[in-house]
Structure formats: structure tokens, C-alpha cells
């Protein structure tokens, strides 16, 4: 990693903040919103320290930071997404600066400086970061708001593991309606137990099952609602491993699969090859019984623990995001709104 530090545009202090964030990214429980906010905080520091040297330099610094974050934790797309969104704002500004005729903001001022001064650059980028931050704060309420349109009285819902947006979605529906929720525990991290605990105060009937019982019960389920770790550019979704099984079961029984996720998880990458998506965790996640670890035969046993599953877009009926519900085939349109094409690879 040292070779890249030579031409670093950002100072030592920022570097320390970056290291801190990289560490935080690995911490569990995974919270996409927290990562997004931390990334934005870091971007603020970078922008304010580099802004005096001009917009070009800011762009380079943000790009470099995004790359560094990806290196820190390759399968966490949220941090890069935030960098991409800030980059898009910078690109727009650069375009205006190089092409004054496009600038409609101060039409009528005849003698205008072609290159904006450092202060305005900083202000514009900071403002856009604040806007993104406001948007992030509204993600959960915006998703929860839509719950009553999808959850009706006495329905049986199934969910897999724990997701913050799904929890809020269910809670907001439970305020008005009574329904039944089957929670598959998500064996990878047992986060379903957490959801069961968090919902225990609500007016819902909860049944906790093991992941393997999902197919057995699917015929009695009206809707499957799950969270996601990333929404890919073709509308497919990355989620905790085991989710594919749930999605396939839902399709077999023609039960609609609804994904609840904020748009900060939207990634302009395509899941070309499954191998780049698989993130393998420690075998200790699989084998709980420590006694076997010391036995001689055990050393020849290969134990794999994939963290993520890819659910192709054809399994998904609806994506519920903070800007409304849409089908996976619509994702490409939103991508253009959020990101610049040239930033797909930082």
C-alpha cells in the first residue's frame, strides 16, 4: 500500500481518520447508514483540506480516498458509493467552470472569473455533502412510510435475518395493523434473533424458525420482505448468504419478494462473475463446537463460510427504497441520476 501514499494529496491527519474508518467498516453489526455517514465525514475533511489547491485537486483526492476505502474493505460498496456521489457534484462544477456558457446560476454578470475561487468550490461541495447527509437521515423514515401500502391486516410475512430498514418497515406497519411475521434466524450471524427481540414489544405474532424450515413454511407466506447489502447495476441484490434459498423458495411458491434498502446501497457495478462477490469468513462461523478443532482429521477438512449471496433480478418483485418502490429493471435509470459513468471504477 506504500507505493500509493507517495502522491497523496491529503494530510497525515486525514490518513489517520481514514485508517479509523477502515477499521470501523469491518466492525459488526454491519450498518450501511453508519458507514455512509462516516465516509461523508471523512470526505468533508478531505475536501476542506484540499479545496485551496483547486477543483481538479479535490476531484483527485476524493477519487483516491474512494479507492483507498475500497481497498480497505472490498465488498463494502457503500463507502465508494458516497465518494462517487461527491465526485458527480465535482464533475458538474468542473464542467461549468470549463464551459462558462453552461453556467446559468449567474447569468447577466458580464465580467465573471472563469475559475471560481477556492472558497466557492469548497462551499458548493460541502453543500452537496450536507444534502446527501440529510438524505441519509431520511432513509429509514422514508422506507417505513411506505409500509402500510404493502403490509395488510392478518398477512403472514417472512423475513431473513436482521436489517435496519426491514425492522423500521415492520414496526411502522405494526403500529396500525396486526400481522404475523416468520423470522428465519440467518444462521450466518443469528441476526434473526435480534430482530425477534426488537419486535417483541410490537403488536405482531412472531415465529422464529431455522433457515432450513423456510421451504417448509413458504406455502403459507404472503410476502417475503428482506434487506440487502448492495443493489447492483442490473437490479440484482447482494444479501447475507442463505438469502438465495429464500428467494428461490419464494419464486417456487410464487410469493412476491420485496427488498427494503436505502439508495445509498445502489452500486454502479455489475455482478459479472460470482467469484468477485464472494467474501469468505472464518470457519469458526460454521463450526461452533470447538472440541473438534484439535482433532487430527479436522485439519484435512475444508470449511467455507461465504458471507454474501447474489439474488438475480428475476427473483425480485419490488425494491422498496427511500425514493419509492420500483422494479429491478428500473435501477439503471436511477444510476444515471446518482453517479457519473466515468466514476464506475474509481
Amino acid at each position: 500500500m506504500n507505493h500509493s501514499t507517495e502522491n497523496w494529496l491529503i494530510g497525515k491527519e486525514t490518513r489517520r481518520a481514514l485508517n479509523y474508518l477502515q477499521k470501523e467498516l469491518r466492525e459488526e453489526p454491519f450498518s450501511g447508514l453508519r458507514i455512509a455517514k462516516e465516509t461523508l465525514r471523512l470526505l468533508r475533511i478531505v475536501v476542506s483540506s484540499v479545496a485551496p489547491s483547486g477543483l481538479d485537486k479535490v476531484e483527485d483526492a476524493v477519487r483516491q480516498l474512494g479507492r483507498e476505502l475500497t481497498r480497505g474493505y472490498p465488498r463494502c460498496f457503500i463507502a465508494e458509493n458516497m465518494a462517487r456521489r461527491v465526485l458527480k457534484v465535482i464533475h458538474e462544477e468542473l464542467q461549468i467552470a470549463n464551459n462558462p456558457r453552461l453556467d446559468t446560476s449567474d447569468l447577466g454578470s458580464p465580467c465573471r472569473n472563469p475559475v471560481k475561487n477556492a472558497k466557492t468550490v469548497k462551499n458548493i461541495v460541502m453543500e452537496s455533502i450536507s444534502e446527501i447527509e440529510d438524505e441519509l437521515d431520511a432513509v429509514l423514515p422514508n422506507i417505513a412510510e411506505q409500509s402500510l401500502e404493502h403490509i395488510h391486516s392478518n398477512e403472514v410475512l417472512l423475513t431473513f435475518g436482521h436489517s435496519q430498514s426491514v425492522e423500521e418497515f415492520l414496526k411502522s406497519a405494526a403500529e396500525k395493523r396486526h400481522f404475523e411475521i416468520i423470522i428465519a434466524e440467518c444462521e450466518l450471524d443469528y441476526s434473526g434473533h435480534r430482530l425477534a427481540k426488537n419486535l417483541s414489544e410490537e403488536n405482531v405474532d412472531i415465529t422464529l424458525i431455522s433457515d432450513a424450515a423456510v421451504v417448509a413454511l413458504m406455502s403459507r407466506v404472503h410476502k417475503v420482505i428482506i434487506g440487502a447489502e448492495a443493489i447492483m447495476a442490473d437490479g440484482s441484490v447482494l444479501a447475507a448468504s442463505g438469502t438465495f434459498m429464500v428467494a428461490a423458495a419464494a419464486r417456487h411458491y410464487a410469493v412476491p419478494l420485496v427488498i427494503c434498502a436505502g439508495l445509498h446501497k445502489l452500486t454502479p457495478l455489475f455482478p459479472h462473475h460470482p467469484d468477485i462477490l464472494y467474501d469468505v469468513l472464518s470457519p469458526s462461523q460454521v463450526i461452533e463446537n470447538c472440541k473438534v478443532w484439535n482433532e487430527s482429521w479436522f485439519r484435512q477438512l475444508e470449511v467455507s463460510c461465504p458471507r454474501l449471496d447474489l439474488i438475480q433480478s428475476q427473483y425480485i418483485r419490488l425494491l422498496v427504497t427511500n425514493s419509492g418502490g420500483f422494479s429491478p429493471s428500473y435501477v439503471y435509470r436511477i444510476l444515471n441520476e446518482f453517479y457519473d459513468e466515468i466514476d464506475t471504477f474509481l
Binding site: 469491518r26 466492525e27 459488526e28 453489526p29 434466524e185 440467518c186 444462521e187 450466518l188 450471524d189 443469528y190 441476526s191 434473533h193 435480534r194 425477534a196 427481540k197 417483541s200 410490537e202 403488536n203 405474532d205 412472531i206 415465529t207 422464529l208 424458525i209 431455522s210 433457515d211 432450513a212 424450515a213 421451504v215 417448509a216 413454511l217 406455502s219 403459507r220 447475507a240 448468504s241 442463505g242 438465495f244 434459498m245 428461490a248 423458495a249 460470482p274 469468513l281 472464518s282 469458526s284 462461523q285 460454521v286 463450526i287 461452533e288 463446537n289 470447538c290 473438534v292 482429521w297 479436522f298 484435512q300 477438512l301 475444508e302 470449511v303 467455507s304 463460510c305 461465504p306 449471496d309
Partner: protein
């Protein structure tokens, strides 16, 4: 999950069928545990006292619920002195999961029933009584105790039905000792034919299907599948096995141990890794608990999940099963027939501090509910034993009579029934 009266009725109806071949009757109805009158009737025959379950999942209220207390703390509601000591021992082994595999449960049942029949003698009763009727009565009480300990599996029901039909065919004019020895001989033959030779045959047929370089995925542990792997390895075949396990019953590690000691390359993971591995898999091999007349397979929880993922990846799914596991019932889903296990198995787990030091601290959540889930009024925990794999997910069934499509189950049943 069959009661003695059910087994009884069916063997009666089977013998009636023989007398009057044109008469068609459906298999007798399964005991429905949410029917108060049926439960009241059952209570009279039960030997171990039952308690009412506190927190049943409504969808599964027709099944016997899990008993939190052991047999001893519940106590007997009837005189248990008539029970054979071997039966009591076996019942406790069933209840505590010491004997839990489908085949081993069935084999131990046959052995124990042979012991019971051997030690039964009319001299304790009136010598003038009918040997067949008294033996039948005696067996029924003993079997009821076994059912109280754990519901019978499909193959166990079939075994008991076979023995009962043999008892009813004994001749009253022949002396007791002769009857007894002929009965014991038929049980021995039955055991040899339906289990020992069947398993050998299945191992041979299954091993033929394994080619060099194959990757085979299996779930949990099944004695038949272990035999197939042993046979294939002995034939010098070079293959790779992926063993998956489904919580809460994790039996796959024992299979891994045996495979590695055999020298087979083995991978192990949990059920959630099915889609991760499935790209490289050639065959999915799974054991079964029973095959329904529709061709659907009842087997350990998770089999349907694996079969479903295999279908999505276009990987063939093969099931191994002796014909003794075939049932004439037709089931739609895993709700019709199942067993409910201890919910605490799902809540707690054997995690240790070892994990807490890792990067991923999520394991802590497993114990989140441990202390207080029973205080949460709206929370129910469901621990199922079996699931039903629909017929369209299964490509072939390996039985001792050959590799057949699952839709042939009723045909085999009909042929085999008419032969025996």
C-alpha cells in the same frame, strides 16, 4: 407418527383387502392432535403422562407438541410393569436422541420386538387363550410406550404393520413354541432382506453412479449415503464430497470424519453455503425419512432447500431410500406430517468466548434470546424435524430394487404389497 390403533386398523384393512380385492379403502386417517375427542381417546391408551403444550404454533397444533419435561418427571399414568425392560431402554434411547437415524431407529425396533416376542409366553396367562391375540395385545402396549417416547417414523410403522400381519397369519392349531420360532425367523429374514441386503444393493447402485472427478453434495448424515461413499472409494473412484449441515441437528461432522479417514476430499459448511457450492456440484445425494405415494420425499429439515437450490442450478438430485420407507399416503407439504423438537435447541448454541475475539462479533446475538424468550408473549419458536421435497425437485430414487423415478413409488408399493 402413527398410533397403535392406526397401525392396527391398517393391518386389519390390509388383511380385509386380501379377502375382498375389489374393495378400495384409503389409508386410515392420521391422528390429529388438535381434535379434542381424538386426544381424549388417545389419553386412555397412552402410558406416559402427557402435558399440554403452552406455546404451540397454530399451524402445527395438529402434531404432538414437544414435551419440555423428561419421561421420568412426567411419570406413567398406567401400570408400566407389563413393559418389557428392553422396550423401556429403547424408548428412553429414542426420547434422548441416542438412537436417532432413520435406519438405526428401525433396526433397533426390530431387534427389540424380536426380544419381546421371544420372552413372551402364554403361561403367564391362561394357557387356553389364543396365542395370537395375547401376543398382539402385549406388543401393542409396548409399542404404545415407544410412541409416547417419540412418534414412529414411516418405516417403523411399516415394520410394525408387517409383524402384526404375520402374527395374524399364525395358525392357532400349532404349538406356541413353533409359532414363536417361525415368527422370529420371519423377522430375521425381514430385517436381512429390507435392511442389510437393501443397504448393500443401494450402496452398489449408488457407487456405480459416481464417476471419477465428480463433486457430490450431501446434507447431514445418512447411513445409506455413507455406504455409497465407502463402496465408491473401495472401487477406487476419485471424488469430492461437500457435506452441508442444517441447524439445529448437526450430524454432518461425523460423516466428514469418516470420509476423511477413508481418504476422500471433503468440504464442510452450513446450509447457507448451498448456492456458493452448487456451481461446482455434479450430483446432490440426500437420505430420506419416507417417500409418499405422490413421489414427494419426507426427509431431514433442509433437504428441500438443497433440492430447490440444486434445481435452480440444474444439478440432478438423487434420493437414497429402502422400499420399506415407502408410504401409501399422499402429502402436500411439510405441515401434514412432522415432528416438533425442543425450541431451546434453536435459541441456544454452543458458542464459546473463542468467537467473541474475532472480527465478527455477531455470534453474540445467538444468546440474545436465551434468557428471556419465554417472557416475550408474542414470540414462538418452531423447531421442525422434517421437510417435504416436492416430486419435481427429485430426479431419481436409489432403492434396492433399482434406480427409479419418484413417481414410481405407488407402483412399487402395489407390487410389493401384493407379493408380501
Amino acid at each position: 407418527m402413527e398410533t397403535t390403533s392406526e397401525v392396527d386398523n391398517r393391518h386389519l384393512s390390509a388383511s380385509k383387502k386380501k379377502a375382498d380385492k375389489t374393495k378400495h379403502t384409503p389409508p386410515s386417517r392420521r391422528m390429529q392432535y388438535d381434535d379434542p375427542s381424538a386426544v381424549a381417546k388417545l389419553k386412555k391408551t397412552q402410558i406416559v403422562r402427557k402435558k399440554n403444550a403452552e406455546r404451540a404454533v397454530p399451524l402445527f397444533s395438529h402434531l404432538p407438541q414437544y414435551e419440555q419435561e423428561s419421561i421420568f418427571s412426567r411419570g406413567f399414568q398406567k401400570d408400566a410393569s407389563e413393559l418389557h425392560p428392553a422396550v423401556i431402554k429403547l424408548g428412553l434411547q429414542y426420547a434422548s436422541d441416542v438412537i436417532s437415524g432413520a435406519s438405526s431407529r428401525c433396526l433397533s425396533l426390530l431387534d427389540t420386538l424380536a426380544l419381546v416376542i421371544e420372552s413372551f409366553s402364554l403361561s403367564e396367562y391362561l394357557e387356553t387363550r389364543d396365542y395370537r391375540r395375547e401376543l398382539d395385545k402385549y406388543l401393542r402396549r409396548n409399542i404404545q410406550f415407544l410412541i409416547d417416547c417419540r412418534p414412529l417414523s414411516i418405516s417403523m410403522g411399516n415394520c410394525i404393520r408387517y409383524i402384526k400381519s404375520r402374527i395374524s397369519q399364525l395358525s392357532p392349531s400349532i404349538p406356541e413354541a413353533e409359532n414363536k420360532s417361525s415368527l422370529l425367523k420371519t423377522i430375521r429374514n425381514f430385517r436381512e432382506e429390507k435392511f442389510e441386503r437393501a443397504e448393500e444393493m443401494i450402496a452398489e447402485l449408488g457407487a456405480e453412479r459416481i464417476r471419477d472427478g465428480d463433486t457430490i453434495l450431501t446434507l447431514g448424515r445418512s447411513s445409506c449415503i455413507e455406504e455409497i461413499f465407502t463402496k465408491a472409494k473401495n472401487c477406487g473412484k476419485d471424488f469430492h464430497v461437500i457435506v452441508l449441515d442444517a441447524r439445529p441437528r448437526q450430524e454432518g461432522l461425523a460423516l466428514c470424519k469418516n470420509l476423511i479417514q477413508m481418504g476422500v476430499k471433503t468440504d464442510y459448511s452450513s446450509l447457507y453455503a448451498a448456492s456458493y457450492y452448487m456451481r461446482d456440484v455434479n450430483i446432490v445425494l440426500c437420505g430420506a425419512e419416507g417417500l409418499m405415494s405422490t413421489g414427494a420425499v419426507i426427509s431431514g429439515l433442509g433437504t428441500a432447500c438443497v433440492a430447490l437450490v440444486a434445481k435452480e442450478y440444474h444439478v440432478p438430485v438423487m434420493i437414497t431410500s429402502q422400499t420399506i420407507k415407502f408410504s401409501e399416503r399422499g402429502h402436500l407439504d411439510a405441515i401434514c406430517f412432522n415432528e416438533i423438537g425442543n425450541p431451546d435447541e434453536l435459541i441456544g448454541h454452543e458458542g464459546s468466548d473463542w468467537f467473541m475475539t474475532g472480527v465478527h462479533n455477531e455470534k453474540k446475538f445467538a444468546n440474545m434470546l436465551k434468557e428471556n424468550w419465554k417472557e416475550m408473549k408474542n414470540l414462538k419458536v418452531l423447531n421442525l424435524y422434517y421437510d417435504l421435497t416436492p416430486v419435481e425437485f427429485i430426479d431419481a430414487v436409489i432403492t434396492e430394487i433399482g434406480i427409479i423415478p419418484p413417481s414410481s413409488v405407488p407402483v412399487v408399493l402395489r407390487e410389493y404389497m401384493s407379493l408380501s
